[in-house]
């Protein structure tokens, strides 16, 4: 799976979870940039990413994700590493 495919899938997840159909994923994007991104929707988003890509994040990966770019990097490593 290439970067573009991963980014598109993540964008679809974020649009659905945060109910933001116009949302465009940027690597520097954080929870502060998205209205409905809070502690509970974050849990849903992580669960959805795990379901769609078919893996579980390690705890140490989750606590190092400062922005969407960090999450894309981890997904890329898991899918293509």
């Amino acid at each position: 799976m290439n970067n573009e495919e991963i980014t598109n899938k993540v964008q679809d997840i974020l649009r659905a979870v945060f109910q933001a159909p116009e949302l465009v994923v940027r690597p520097e994007m954080t929870a502060n940039d998205v209205d409905k991104w809070d502690s509970l929707t974050h849990l849903t988003m992580i669960a959805k990413v795990e379901e769609v890509f078919g893996f579980r994040f390690k705890l140490k990966e989750m606590v190092k994700m400062k922005n969407v770019g960090d999450m894309l990097t981890i997904i890329n490593e898991k899918m293509n590493g």
Binding site: A31, D38, S39, L40, H42, L43, T44, I46, A47, L59, M62, V63, K64, M65, K66, N67
Partner: protein, 230 residues
């Protein structure tokens, strides 16, 4: 017992059980009957305590589930009071993200599904911490040791530690429930002022939170040091 009998020190591995209980009891407070760490997730007090206890050795920084952030007051070699402190978002990860990550790994899966069904209540309760500001959380004193100013001593020790290590902090925040008037008045006397407040009018709120609203309180570190040294 006199104030001289208390020793303040960093938390250690043997305190993990005390800290797990303290986190829950501090949340329940003196006015509440349920802990949001348990009820909001549809699990029992014991299940929440055991999950938090299991998180402790991970030492994930940036939220109250890290023993690394706790100072403890000890009496006759037993922990009797504690408070947690961290700088919000210090390494770019908010406390709620660290907390969520730990809950995702250690809470039963059904708990995370359950909390989503109560989101409409949680959303009305939440207040938001400020990045870069020192946070106090999970202040707890065992009943028989109350009235000795242990929380203010622990706060002062935390602040001294952060200043000594030259962390760039000038303000402190803490949260409590708006119903806990005694705690709010105590914090106001120490130099805190309310900066944000929520109220949830959902009739079910007290089934999941130990209060009907939350307050975020803030103090300038210098004012706080004066207030709590008096």
């Amino acid at each position: 017992m006199t104030d001289l009998n208390y020793t303040i020190r960093r938390a250690k591995e043997s305190d993990y059980r005390f800290l797990s209980e303290a986190i829950l009891k501090a949340d329940i407070g003196t006015t509440g009957t349920v802990s949001s760490y348990a009820a909001l997730f549809g699990i029992t007090y014991d299940q929440a305590r055991d999950a938090i206890l299991a998180m402790m050795p991970e030492e994930v920084e940036g939220c109250e589930f890290s023993p690394f952030h706790f100072l403890v007051a000890e009496y006759e070699e037993k922990p009797v009071a504690c408070i947690c402190a961290w700088i919000e978002g210090f390494d770019g990860v908010s406390s709620w993200m660290a907390r969520s990550a730990l809950m995702q790994h250690y809470y039963p899966k059904g708990a995370l599904d359950f909390v989503q069904t109560k989101k409409h209540i949680a959303d009305k309760m939440m207040v938001h911490r400020t990045d870069g500001v020192l946070q106090f959380e999970s202040a707890f004193v065992a009943e028989e040791h109350r009235g000795h100013g242990l929380i203010t001593k622990l706060m002062k020790a935390h602040i001294a530690k952060f200043l000594l290590q030259q962390y760039p902090v000038s303000k402190v925040e803490l949260m409590t429930y708006s119903d806990n008037i005694t705690a709010i008045r105590t914090y106001e006397k120490a130099g805190f002022a309310v900066t944000a407040q929520t109220h949830c009018d959902d009739p079910e709120v007290l089934q999941y939170f130990p209060g009907t609203g939350m307050v975020l309180m803030e103090a300038q570190i210098m004012n706080l040091m004066k207030g709590i040294s008096q």
